[in-house]
Assembly symmetry: C14
Homo-oligomer: 89 residues x 14
Amino acid sequence: MESISIIGMVSIITAGVTIAVGSIAPAIGEGKALAQALLAIAQQPDEIPTITRTLFVGLAMVESTAIYCFVVALILIFANPFWNYVIQV
Amino acid sequence: MESISIIGMVSIITAGVTIAVGSIAPAIGEGKALAQALLAIAQQPDEIPTITRTLFVGLAMVESTAIYCFVVALILIFANPFWNYVIQV
Amino acid sequence: MESISIIGMVSIITAGVTIAVGSIAPAIGEGKALAQALLAIAQQPDEIPTITRTLFVGLAMVESTAIYCFVVALILIFANPFWNYVIQV
Amino acid sequence: MESISIIGMVSIITAGVTIAVGSIAPAIGEGKALAQALLAIAQQPDEIPTITRTLFVGLAMVESTAIYCFVVALILIFANPFWNYVIQV
Amino acid sequence: MESISIIGMVSIITAGVTIAVGSIAPAIGEGKALAQALLAIAQQPDEIPTITRTLFVGLAMVESTAIYCFVVALILIFANPFWNYVIQV
Amino acid sequence: MESISIIGMVSIITAGVTIAVGSIAPAIGEGKALAQALLAIAQQPDEIPTITRTLFVGLAMVESTAIYCFVVALILIFANPFWNYVIQV
Amino acid sequence: MESISIIGMVSIITAGVTIAVGSIAPAIGEGKALAQALLAIAQQPDEIPTITRTLFVGLAMVESTAIYCFVVALILIFANPFWNYVIQV
Amino acid sequence: MESISIIGMVSIITAGVTIAVGSIAPAIGEGKALAQALLAIAQQPDEIPTITRTLFVGLAMVESTAIYCFVVALILIFANPFWNYVIQV
Amino acid sequence: MESISIIGMVSIITAGVTIAVGSIAPAIGEGKALAQALLAIAQQPDEIPTITRTLFVGLAMVESTAIYCFVVALILIFANPFWNYVIQV
Amino acid sequence: MESISIIGMVSIITAGVTIAVGSIAPAIGEGKALAQALLAIAQQPDEIPTITRTLFVGLAMVESTAIYCFVVALILIFANPFWNYVIQV
Amino acid sequence: MESISIIGMVSIITAGVTIAVGSIAPAIGEGKALAQALLAIAQQPDEIPTITRTLFVGLAMVESTAIYCFVVALILIFANPFWNYVIQV
Amino acid sequence: MESISIIGMVSIITAGVTIAVGSIAPAIGEGKALAQALLAIAQQPDEIPTITRTLFVGLAMVESTAIYCFVVALILIFANPFWNYVIQV
Amino acid sequence: MESISIIGMVSIITAGVTIAVGSIAPAIGEGKALAQALLAIAQQPDEIPTITRTLFVGLAMVESTAIYCFVVALILIFANPFWNYVIQV
Amino acid sequence: MESISIIGMVSIITAGVTIAVGSIAPAIGEGKALAQALLAIAQQPDEIPTITRTLFVGLAMVESTAIYCFVVALILIFANPFWNYVIQV
């Protein structure tokens, strides 16, 4: 196989695998936090503003790890320095 | 194998695997959150509007990781820069 | 192997694996939510309309990840751009 | 191997694997929901009609993911566009 | 290897694997539901007719996924279109 | 390898694997149901006839998935259409 | 490799694997049922005859799946139709 | 490789794997039953004879699956019909 | 394959796998801590400032392991000493 | 590879793997039974002689599966009929 | 492949895998400890200084295992004695 | 590869794997028993001598499975009959 | 491949894998112990000095297994007798 | 590959894997025992000397399995009889 095939092939595979695997844990973690938040609301209705605020700030923090993966996947598809090098050579 | 076969092959595989693997965690996370929401409704009927609102906002956030994967899968099938390059060469 | 064999082979495999793997999590998530809904009905009969409405809206949202996979599987079988390209060449 | 062998081989394997893997999660999810329904009946006999109605609607929804897999498996065996193409060529 | 060997080989393997894997989840799901039914009978003897009726209807629904696999396995052994094609050619 | 070796080899392997894998889940499911039945007897001695009758009907239903596998395994050893074809050719 | 080596090799491997894998689940299921039976005896000493009778009938049913595997393993070692065919040819 | 090497090799491997894998589940099942028996003795000292008798009969039944594997392993080492055939040829 | 292909290929794969695998545990750990924080707020509303402060300091510490992985991934894509060496040679 | 290398190699590997894998379950089962015994002693000090006697008889029974593996491992190292055959030929 | 390719390739892969795998357990362990700390604060507000001090000292100790991995990863990228040797030869 | 390399190679690998795998279960089992012993001491301080004596006798029994593996590993390194044979030939 | 490449390659891989795998269990074990310590402080504030002293001594003991792995990893990178031998030959 | 490369390679790999895998279980077991000890101290402060003494004796016993692995790893690196043999030949 020539270089272009190899670099293209692994870029595609890696981009897909990165976002697929990288979205497993955030979704599970967010689901668990969300489930707990609903339980907390049911137990302590007086603190709903604090709970939902803490929830959404925390979800954003968990979501950040999914976004790291999404960023890397898009870099590999649209701004891949290795691909740019091999198609110029 | 020539380049077209390779790039086409891995694009298909990666698109399918990405959406298949990427839909595992959101579905489980959403199921868990939904189950908890129903329990919260049963425990605290007075807060049903808050619970369902928090639930659907949270589900949308969890769903977002599945959508990242769906986006990457469709890009690989219909807007794949590597495929476009090899069929032009 | 020639291109047609390769592209056809991976399209078949990927279509099957995508829907098979992609249906695991929604079925488990829906089963869990459904089980919890029945428990909620038993605990709080007065809120049956709200519970069942929230349940079916939530199930539809969980089902959506299975549908993403089903869509990708059918695209790979009946509207596959890579297959169309190789059988025209 | 020639194209017919390849396409035939992967069609058979994929059809079997798709329905086999795709029936795992629905069966487990339905079993769990069914188990919970029986518990709910024991706890709240007054709501038996609602519980069983919700149960069977929900089971049908879970069953739908198994049916997606069954549909894809039968398409691969009896209405496979790739097989039709290679045996005509 | 010639086509007959390949098609025969994968038909045998797939038939066995399909029914073997496909019988895992129904057996576990049915066992769980059955276990819960016995518990429900012990807790609420007055509802035995309803419980056993719901149980057997539900078990039949879970069993259906095993039957999908059994059907596909028997099709692959005794009514396999790919095998019929290759032994006629 | 010639066809006879291949078909014979995979028939043996598949027969063994089918019954081995296919007996996992029924045994576990039956064990769980049996364990629960004993607990139910201890809790509600007055319903022993109903409990044991429901238990054995349910066990037979779970056992059926093991029997599907046993049937397929014996078909592959003693009534294998692929083997019959290759030893006649 | 010639046919005799292949058929002999896979017969040995399959026989061992079948009984080894096939004995996992019955042993675990029986252990669980047995453990529960002892607990039931401790809770309800008045029903010891019923409990032990139900226990041993149930254990025999679970044991049957191990015996299916043992039967297949011995058939593969001492009454293997494929082996008989290849040593006669 | 000649036949003797192959048959000898797989006999050794299979014998070891069979007894190794086959001893996993009985040991775990027996450990669980034994643990439960000790708990039952602590809860219901008056029934110690019945508990220990049921325990040892049940352990013997669980042990039987390990003995099936041990028998197959020793047959493969000391009374292997395939080995006897190939060293006579 | 020449050096450039190899180094480029493994850099892409490793970058993706590193961030994908490395984001699993932080997301799960943060989700669990966040869920617990919401429970703590519901139980002890008087200590909300301390809880949220401890939560965010702790989340930052957990996040640090994800950042180690993100740093290594970006180094492998944009500041890779091995790639720089091979494209200069 | 010649026969001596093959037979020696698999004998060594199988001996090690057999005792390594075969010691997993007994150790776990014994640990669980031992842990439960200590709990039973704490709950029912009056029955210490019965508990310890039942414990050690049961541990010996669990240990027997580890000894089966140890016996097979030593047979494969020091009394291996296949090895004796190939070094005499 | 020449030495430079090999050493470069495995250095990249190992560096990424080391930090990726090595960050799994610390993140999970820290998340669990953090979750427990928040629960402890909610239960015992009077001991907040002791709890947070113990928490952060302990987290640092857990973090140390992640840092061992980060150190090894950076050594492999920037101070790799094997790479230095092969590019000098 | 010649015989010496093969026998040496597998001896080293097997020795390491045997003791590594073989030490997993005893350590876990002992840790569980030890944890339970400490709980029993806290619950029943009057029986400390009996508890600790039973604990250490039981731990020795669990430890024995680790020692079987250690013995086999040392035999494979320092008293390996296969190695002695091949270096004499 | 020549010796230097092989020895260098496996040294790098093994060093990374050793510390990566070896840091999993200590981090989890320490996290669990730390979590329990915080709970113990919340339950029994009077024994804080004893608890924290026991905690840190125990953590050091758990940490020791991570340090064994770190020592082996550094030996393999900087004081590897096999590498020293092959670069001198 | 020549003997020196093979023996050196497997010695390095085995040494690393042995200590890495062998340190998993002791660390987890010790963490669990340590966690339980802290709970026991919180429940029964009067028995702290006995608890800590039993704890450290037990930890030493669990640690012994890690030390077996460490010993084997160091033997394989610094006192390897197979390596000594091949570098003398």
